[in-house]
């Protein structure tokens, strides 16, 4: 365990824009959060909310010529945003690693998986080829690939989707990174395989004391594995806090809308779900005030049309629970109580 003072990873005021033909895309706008070793931060939000771009910016995966990244991502005191490409590449694969929804994005189709795993070892460690292969075998075993001595000589296409995902995880974790970012790692998988993969990530996290950022749109996964949660909307974090804050004490109208939208396995909600009306905003023309305003049912409770014109800041309301909304505490509490009561009441 690292000592208490500075967080292990601290992202501060991270913003990413892409100049495009249609205009400037503000993909990420002033995102701040921190993660400690051994802990899991879930980043949750709808598609286009900026989750993947946030991850790519931290991992140095954005092409600097096609994007502009500002802010900081301090990893044990060193700013990943300020590093040059070579430096950040050295960090990636050794101290930090990423897994993706599509395993083929990190596996080469024409090389045997053993060769690819060994290569990942050889790039970052001074060991013999034989030792690297032993590590590869060991890692395949750790991620639950059956009969690894045979499988190590397979090509990726010879494996099922779930096995490929395991190999990608093996690849990401083979140098025991201290930071792992998983971007929707199970979205393409069946629930049964998803459960295996999440358990695997959890076990490896414990073993290596890894800080995990789990990007997902699935509130079930968030509830299952997160310690802390950041809810993103329109490129901004609109609410963040402990997993209990977000599920049991949510305050931001968007978070409430999300919770009210999900169908539940363990109960039947009312005949009709209570969805958020409308569609997510275009990142080219984000609303000038609150990004959620066009879909928010409560903006008329705020004086002077502030929601339309004034950008709310993310404010800590106590104990690390932060909310980006113009409503005052009493108003938010009243709204949250109504929504949560309605949800509890509608369960069978």
């Amino acid at each position: 365990m690292t000592s208490a003072s500075a967080p292990f990873l601290s992202v501060q005021d991270l913003s990413v824009t892409f100049p495009t033909e249609d205009g400037r895309v503000q993909a990420v706008d002033g995102v701040s959060f921190s993660v400690e070793r051994g802990k899991t931060l879930a980043v949750v939000g709808e598609s286009g909310s900026g989750k993947s771009v946030t991850a790519q910016a931290i991992m140095g995966l954005l092409d600097r010529r096609l994007s502009s990244v500002t802010g900081h991502a301090w990893l044990e005191g060193r700013d990943l945003v300020a590093m040059d490409d070579d430096e950040v590449r050295r960090e990636r694969g050794s101290r930090m690693a990423m897994i993706f929804q599509d395993p083929m994005s990190s596996l080469h189709p024409f090389y045997r998986i053993g060769a690819q795993l060994s290569e990942a070892v050889l790039v970052h460690q001074k060991v013999s080829k034989q030792a690297a292969r032993e590590q590869a075998l060991e890692m395949l075993n750790r991620v639950g690939i059956p009969d690894p001595r045979t499988r190590i000589d397979n090509y990726p296409h010879q494996l099922s989707g779930g096995m490929r995902q395991r190999v990608m995880i093996a690849m990401a974790l083979i140098n025991s990174p201290a930071l792992l970012i998983a971007d929707e790692p199970t979205t393409a998988l069946d629930v049964t395989v998803q459960a295996q993969i999440l358990e695997l990530i959890g076990n490896l996290q414990q073993e290596y004391d890894t800080a995990v950022i789990m990007i997902t749109h699935d509130l079930g996964i968030v509830a299952d594995i997160a310690d802390d949660v950041a809810v993103m909307y329109g490129g901004r974090i609109v609410e963040s806090g402990s997993v209990d804050d977000i599920f049991y004490r949510p305050q931001m109208p968007y978070t409430l809308g999300l919770l009210a939208s999900v169908p539940r396995l363990d109960q039947v909600r009312a005949e009709r779900l209570d969805p958020i009306p409308g569609n997510p905003p275009s990142p080219i023309s984000l609303p000038p005030g609150c990004v959620f305003q066009p879909r928010c049912a409560y903006s008329d409770r705020v004086a002077d049309h502030a929601c339309e014109g004034v950008r709310p800041e993310l404010v800590d309301i106590g104990g690390g629970h932060a909310v980006r909304c113009h409503l005052d505490g009493g108003q938010r509490l009243a709204i949250a109580t109504d929504v949560l009561d309605a949800l509890a009441g509608s369960g069978a």
Binding site: E46, S47, G144, I145, P146, D147, Y155, H157, Q158, L159, S160, G161, G162, M163, D190, V191, T192, V193, Q194, A195, Q196, L198, E199, H217, D218, L219, G220, I221, V222, A223, D224, A226, V243, D244, F247, Y248, G257, L258, L259, S261, V262, P263, R264, L265, D266, V268, R269, E271, R272, L273, D274, P275, I276, P277, N279, P280, A348
Partner: protein
């Protein structure tokens, strides 16, 4: 919600349906060397105004079932009756008028719509194809439909690319309901959508059902979505329906070990509830539908399997009202997620003398720390594990 019993006036009745795809060898003179048994003896019926959910893992045959009942794929054997008419062997020409009664909605709102046609043309196409002239004209009918599904009727002349994913799904729905079909096969209609949009579309489907009395065969892999929308639910595994039951009966008293495993694998959006749940971990992947396991097709992954399961195919039996299951050792006594108990769990309350006592399974599991080891089954690597091509 009331459970609608399967009645004789079913809009769709499928009996012992099989859809097999030939597997051919490569070379100049390809030979058929096997069959993908995508659907292998499925029977089901859908009542008017009812939603039958069809769930299961990827590749289990859900979409093939949905497409076969609409005769978009030729069945290998069995019968399909649409609104009382046997359509199993009908020619394409004979099928044309019947297409008014049955429609389809697809998963991918991006590919299901012709990008070169305007929304008006797309939604109006069924009138064209069926030579139906609605009172007031096609344009008015289409604009009515657009308003009905939550689209702006003024966007009649726009192209699909100008709409978001959720809006495109609304376009597909408007097209499907244009001729007031009796049944719509919905193949993962909300899987590609964000949660907030997903909820909008599910509400829309419900409203249309209330208004028009349309029935849905609702194919999806998301068990929470299926619970929300279905009256009855069928669980598929490797081309077979292994359990079929009224919605609440299935979710509160699942009888098939596979259903248990599926349900327990879905994380609940509720941290405390989730932390207190025990889960069944299924080991391995689906075996290959080319060479399915003998006896019960689930036996290679089942934590209750016994010798009998390898030898004897379990028949679908009705064990609770309207609740049928194909398993030699159904799980009467267990609630979802309670299979694996801690040392002081309620194991002693279970009584199922005719089956391998769950307590034995549980003891194994607890001791070894994993179902895979308890059953000696691990990552089943059938022919499926080798590359398809």
């Amino acid at each position: 919600m009331t459970d609608i019993p399967a009645t004789d006036d079913a809009v769709l009745r499928v009996t012992d349906l099989r859809t097999h795809f030939p597997v051919r060898s490569r070379g100049v003179f390809p030979k058929t060397i096997g069959q993908v048994k995508a659907v292998d003896g499925v029977s089901l019926s859908v009542a008017p105004g009812e939603t039958l959910g069809l769930v299961g893992e990827s590749g289990c045959g859900k979409s093939t079932t949905g497409r076969t009942v609409l005769r978009l794929i030729a069945p290998t054997s069995g019968t399909i009756e649409l609104d009382g008419t046997d359509i199993t062997r009908m020619s394409a020409k004979q099928l044309v008028p019947l297409r008014r009664k049955a429609q389809m909605i697809f998963q991918d709102p991006y590919n299901a719509l012709n990008p070169r046609h305007t929304v008006g043309t797309i939604i109006g196409a069924p009138f064209e194809v069926q030579s139906v002239s609605p009172p007031g004209g096609v344009r008015a009918a289409v604009q009515d439909l657009m308003a009905r599904v939550g689209l702006n009727p003024e966007h009649y002349n726009r192209y699909p690319s100008e709409f978001s994913g959720g809006q495109r799904q609304r376009i597909g729905i408007a097209r499907a309901v244009a001729l007031r079909p009796k049944i719509i096969v919905c193949d993962e209609p909300v899987s590609a959508l964000d949660v907030s949009i997903q909820a909008q579309i599910m509400n829309l489907l419900k409203d249309l059902q209330d208004d028009f009395g349309v029935a849905y065969l609702f194919v999806a892999h998301d068990l929470s979505v299926v619970r929300q929308i279905s009256h009855r639910v069928a669980v598929m595994y490797l081309g077979h329906i292994v359990e079929l039951a009224p919605r609440d009966s299935l979710y509160s008293k699942p009888l098939h070990p596979y259903t248990h495993a599926l349900l327990s694998a879905v994380p609940l959006p509720d941290p405390r509830a989730q932390a207190n749940r025990e889960q069944i971990r299924l080991s391995g992947d689906l075996p290959s539908p080319i060479n399915p396991p003998s006896g019960c097709v689930f036996h290679t992954r089942c934590f209750r399997a016994e010798d009998r399961c390898k030898a004897e195919v379990p028949e679908l039996r009705e064990l609770l009202p309207g609740h049928t299951v194909a398993c030699h050792f159904p799980m009467f006594d267990l609630e979802v997620g309670t299979v694996i108990r801690g040392p002081q769990g309620e194991v002693s309350e279970l009584d199922a003398p005719e089956v391998r006592p769950p307590s034995e399974v549980i003891a194994d599991v607890v001791e070894s720390g994993g179902l895979a080891r308890a059953t000696g089954v691990d990552y089943v690597t059938g022919p499926d594990a080798t590359p398809p091509d």
